[in-house]
Symmetry: C2
Subunit: 380 residues, 2 copies
């Protein structure tokens, strides 16, 4: 898969990482590679496959690295996201959310034709029947996972009977092939305590296993059992239920995951790899500084970003508008001044990445590349 | 200023407004025009000028409508935003935030050359001196407003002495011209009660007037006194301090402003003009529905979006992830089903618009145009 040509001229115009126009999204390639390697090694040691979720990074260059490390394919949350990645040559995709709306059927068929593998999820009989008819009319075969609600209460069938109904529709539709089940325990991923998370995850996986067992007992084989995430990656393989993990955030981590004991012994498996660089734009009040990063560049759905560099330890961030953030410095700190560069660890990686068109890639202290975020804003 | 050619083919492929791929940002042109006319009429009746803030809409087509209705120019929050609008032919701009970072000076000079009028704000002596030197070296004259902190504690000088220091630097710099003062009372705009908001706004404008008076007494004339917003637009003219208003959100309103008594008598001056259309993707739980709009398309920094159509009155929205929202239906409601279209009034317009590349423009029930959001993501 060809990499897009590097725009050396643009990179030169950007200058060093310390000269970037702010706010800028900065990706630490060493940390990214370390995280990719750590997850790959973990999965290998556990005999489980990876189908990483591209909804986190939305970037073909990162998707390619994941595929090169042996991923089965990539997950996408949205049809437009999948289209953007397929366009960039990443053509083994699982669309993990239901796709609805009559106008999208044609797009779905085009995507299926452009992919070496495209799997969809089924959550509802009516939508599934429409899909079957459209695929038959287009002369296409679609692979299907039955989506199971494992306690998140968002999408998916609520019990085995509903799954059997969907499996029956699939069995009768020549254009559809059942490949297995999917269950994503999104409500479990951020439980900070390891043992508490283990119990919650076991309950979710138990629901998924029960549905799979009922399907297989009724002669609907489920070779794929897909789910999990960064939060439960260290717990899920031992359960023996999943045979592939849909991990996403591990590639760069974020403040939200930094608060979770992922390994059970307090050691960090994943490094902070993603930062928003910002600059002080005003420092006219003692003990405070205003920076040029607010709710248009930092997702406000979770914790506050953490200061990585450029301000004293103990400095805290508070959003003070769409374009501004307020830093509160610890008592007795030397004041910051306009123009000072501050690095922030991203609070919640997926939606923060969604604000930007490019990653500014650094290797150590050097700005070395720009990676387009092809699926940025591809929500529909 | 030429409008970009309308892509009829794309519009045909999109179908009717009811067939849009969701989530989609939908602009009601009748409401937009009514809001533009209402603000223009109000300002005219009060003898105050408008310099609307483009940080809300980020769109050349809307900026042109504002200019056609007699706006003095447009405000921008960020340099990149101003560059995008200047590129689209909107060339009378006020940059309301400080611009820092050495690499941006060259961009600033290019922008100044491309604009019929470019005004900048001064908040800090060091940055101002750099600016003066760069402008002199480039052979450019820059117009400056002194930014005054009127209680928001974000940017701006904190007292008249600091303003006099900046005015002195400007007076000595042949490349800089003092045009006046700016004070934005962002902390006042959303005070729901009219009288309480009046008191808070009067206090802010008093601070601004005091700085202006000290500057003028020291022979630094301030022909422009700029500030205000949608929240205080009905209060500010009577104070006699401001001679232009930097209103932004009035063009489409949002849930946040709908909770504010803008006129003092409970009547609405501005209509809801902006919606995120979403679709039910799962409805497997009684009393609930999952829609395809979460924190990647609805800003989560303020209130929840309100349901405009497609779900029973009393339905509430809760974000349930980056790509999902949960609707809770009132007891006894008929269930929604996958594919059902739901219209949401945007919760906070500025950052919600920032998620999208296009407005889908509707006129009544018809989808009639697509307007690019040129300054989307232009944060740096």
């Amino acid at each position: 898969m060809p990499q897009p040509p590097l725009d050396r001229d643009l990179l030169n115009r950007l200058g060093s990482r310390l000269e970037l126009s702010t706010p800028a999204l900065v990706l630490d390639l060493d940390a990214l590679e370390a995280n990719l390697a750590a997850m790959t090694a973990w999965a290998k040691s556990q005999g489980i496959a990876l189908r990483p979720h591209a909804k986190t990074h939305k970037c073909a260059a990162i998707g390619r690295l994941q595929m090169e490390q042996g991923a089965l394919g990539l997950c996408c949350a949205k049809l437009a996201e999948a289209e953007a990645l397929a366009e960039a040559g990443l053509d083994r995709l699982l669309l993990t959310s239901p796709v609805v709306g009559a106008r999208r059927i044609a797009r779905l068929m085009t995507l299926a034709r452009n992919c070496a593998e495209l799997m969809l999820v089924a959550t509802n009989p009516g939508t599934l029947r429409e899909r079957a008819a459209a695929a038959a009319a287009a002369g296409i075969t679609l692979d299907i996972l039955i989506d199971v609600d494992v306690g998140q209460e968002r999408t998916g069938v609520r019990d085995a009977d509903a799954a059997l109904l969907l499996a029956g529709i699939i069995a009768e539709a020549p254009a559809l092939t059942l490949k297995g089940v999917q269950g994503y325990a999104g409500h479990v991923q951020h439980i900070a305590d390891f043992e508490e998370r283990r119990r919650a995850s076991a309950m979710s996986l138990g629901l998924l296993a029960a549905v799979r067992d009922r399907l297989e007992a009724a002669d609907h084989p489920c070779p794929i059992v897909s789910g999990g995430g960064t939060g439960t990656h260290a717990l899920d393989p031992a359960s023996g239920v999943l045979n592939e993990l849909q991990v996403g955030s591990y590639i760069v981590s974020d403040v939200e995951y930094d608060a979770v004991d992922l390994t059970g012994d307090g050691t960090r498996r994943f490094r902070d790899g993603l930062f928003v660089y910002a600059r002080v734009v005003s420092a006219n009040r003692d003990g405070f500084a205003t920076i040029d990063a607010g709710s248009k560049v930092l997702s406000m759905d979770g914790p506050a970003p953490a200061v990585a560099f450029g301000a004293p330890e103990g400095t805290t961030y508070r959003c003070s508008g769409d374009e501004f953030g307020e830093l509160t410095l610890p008592p007795g700190s030397a004041p910051l001044k306009p123009g000072d560069l501050v690095g922030l660890v991203v609070p919640h990686c997926d939606p923060t990445i969604n604000f930007f068109d490019f990653y500014h890639c650094v290797r150590g202290e050097e700005l070395v590349d720009l990676w387009p975020i092809e699926a940025r804003g591809c929500s529909a």
